[in-house]
Symmetry: C2
Subunit: 388 residues, 2 copies
């Protein structure tokens, strides 16, 4: 009785390498070691108190039933209002879908668009789930190498050079993971124009929206109303574990999105949705703004400290909470470097190989999701490691 | 600039017909009408207080971060213990995956198993999401008509008759939606045997486990350790809006399940997981048992009342919270009957067409998810409607 073979798509979907490293970090911690976590894409800030309190009130009030598949109308409207108030963009609430995390939004968007063999153009490096979701629905990711010359972002010229008759979508992330870079507005406009002319969908991952330290904090929707935007309450609003995100999609896609959402998820978490209503209150917005400033201070410190240690940072990070550094002065094999650093000095960082792209073997992603004193301690340990 | 065409899979995925009816029911309510809801697969019982309180404590304690992709170890162990305590089955916690609802479990199971063209045998009628998930991952649902002669369940003979070289899995639901029937243990054993001999996976939807009024409340795992079980905190534990389910999968599938879960969901909701720990406490179990007895009383009443009104119930419901009735004495078009009943007397029921199968056009699903007095009122209204 042989076990039935698993799906072919599993050959294309790799586990995150950092997971093995994270497991080792936890084992070291369990053994009493003081591990500094710079590998995790989750800020150390707790969910803002007003959101937690709204969640508690929701539970006390019995908001524990299914909601409409695309979310409660109040929250869809609040998200639409947020675009109007903060980005000056008019979005009908009917084009907002609340989802189980940005993961849920990405899944709905790609399952609504991709037939087997359809191609999606995206940058390399990229957040690996983007590629994997495409493969989950039998689409073909067209990975376009990008580097410091393009600020690690797609360009219209590169998109055009990789276009084919099967191109169904182009995916951009700004601010990007792992590099923290922003795409230039005029470049994004040209890519949007190309998509519009040739009949493809521009998908923009804006899940780090708001976490911008240099350059404009904007939404693609301010210039391309037809773009499909993926967003999340996880990062800017620090609601990771609540699993809540959203999507803004072109009007013609909404019936398909709703049909898929009702089948795939039934509804997003009810308590999380009621809690998220407090995300847009003035007190919460003031708090997340102060945290943004704290993150900027960390970025400034970490960038300078890594440069001083001989790491190269070919494109300065402008947003999110990552520094993507070239470690070639110290190693030819960054994954081994990360493993050794963890074993010797209990500092956990993510190897570039998880994100792909040119030079990934020699790259490391440092997340500044821990406090400034801890980052300073980490830098001391890395210095000791390098000097040893 | 034509809009890009949507994915082919959307042609195979239908929206639930009941959704239009539900929208109309809500519009009538908004206009002040007293609608009796018998269309919704969600009990009227609130989440048990101990679970709500555990959720509140989790939020107060700051359990709002990502968890491991397959769930917190405490909850995986608690689920494993539940199988040992209540069903006498030893399940390693390592084979339990906590998921965003049973929907998330089904998605992981099918994306792990199905390559394009792979076939899954399932009964017709069935819960429509089962078929849709198969199509979402480019598998082929092989719908096998079942009726009263088989208690609306698959038989080993029918499964064998529909077997092909592409058969990858057989999917059974017990108790079933929409019929509330149980599969006979010996029939399930024969199907499991067939799967084992021929190298396919037996997937059993046990999301109504515990909600059994006649016949044995059991898990397929007691006789087929290699089966893949889908389960949920939604129905028996009344946690619908929390979006939390689980899966028990064969050991060899777990690395694939974990890899897919980390990509598709990152993790299930953290507060929901901590809340669910209270589901297995003695107080909660006593409460859900008393609710099960209330549901049985509703089933007994509704079954007799519908029979008295001239509906036919070819296979008496043994579990879940649905009565699947043949309405041919009253209509040749049950969807129109449901629409007219709602307009005239504000009683909402689900047309059989949402579930497929022989006679679906003349079938209705009555959910006893509302109180006995409301069911009595509904029966009065239906009587008036039929007599008019």
């Amino acid at each position: 009785m042989p076990t039935p073979p698993l799906a072919n798509r599993l050959h294309h979907i790799e586990p995150f390498r950092v997971m093995a490293l994270l497991a080792r970090a936890k084992a070291l911690e369990a053994a009493g070691r003081d591990v500094i976590h710079m590998e995790i894409g989750e800020p150390d800030f707790p969910t803002p108190p007003a959101i937690v309190e709204a969640g508690i009130r929701a539970l006390q009030a019995g908001h524990t039933s299914y909601t409409p598949a695309l979310g409660i109308p109040l929250l869809r409207q609040a998200i639409a209002d947020f675009y109007a108030d903060h980005y000056g963009v008019a979005i009908p609430a009917a084009q907002v879908a609340v989802t189980p995390g940005a993961s849920g939004a990405l899944q709905l968007a790609l399952s609504a668009l991709l037939s087997p063999g359809d191609e999606v153009i995206l940058s390399n490096p990229t957040y690996p789930c983007n590629r994997h979701f495409i493969q989950m629905f039998e689409g073909v990711p067209i990975m376009v190498d990008v580097g410091p010359a393009e600020n690690y972002q797609l360009t219209a010229a590169k998109v055009a050079a990789h276009w084919s008759a099967r191109t169904k979508a182009v995916m951009v992330a700004s601010p990007a993971n792992p590099t923290g870079t922003l795409i230039a507005p005029d470049e994004l406009d040209r890519i949007g124009q190309l998509c519009q002319e040739r009949g493809a969908v521009l998908i923009v991952d804006e899940i780090y929206q708001g976490l911008v330290y240099d350059g404009p904090d904007r939404s693609v929707l301010s210039s391309h109303a037809g773009a499909l935007v993926i967003n999340s309450f996880s990062k800017y609003f620090q609601m990771t574990g609540w699993r809540l995100g959203w999507m803004v999609a072109p009007e013609y896609m909404m019936p398909a999105i709703e049909k898929l959402a009702m089948n795939a998820f039934l509804s997003p978490s009810a308590p999380s949705q009621y809690a998220a209503l407090a995300a847009f209150e003035p007190d919460t917005l003031r708090l997340v703004e102060s945290r943004r400033q704290a993150l900027r201070a960390r970025r400034d410190y970490l960038t300078h400290a890594l440069l001083a240690l001989g790491f190269d940072i070919p494109a300065p990070p402008q947003g999110a909470f990552y520094v993507y550094a070239d470690a070639r002065r110290h190693t030819r094999h960054a994954e081994q470097f990360a493993a050794d650093l963890l074993e010797a000095h209990y500092v956990a960082v993510t190897p570039g190989i998880d994100f792909g792209g040119p030079g990934a073997d020699q790259a490391l992603r440092f997340a500044y999701t821990t406090s400034l004193p801890r980052l300073q301690e980490a830098i001391q340990r890395i210095k000791t490691f390098i000097d040893s």
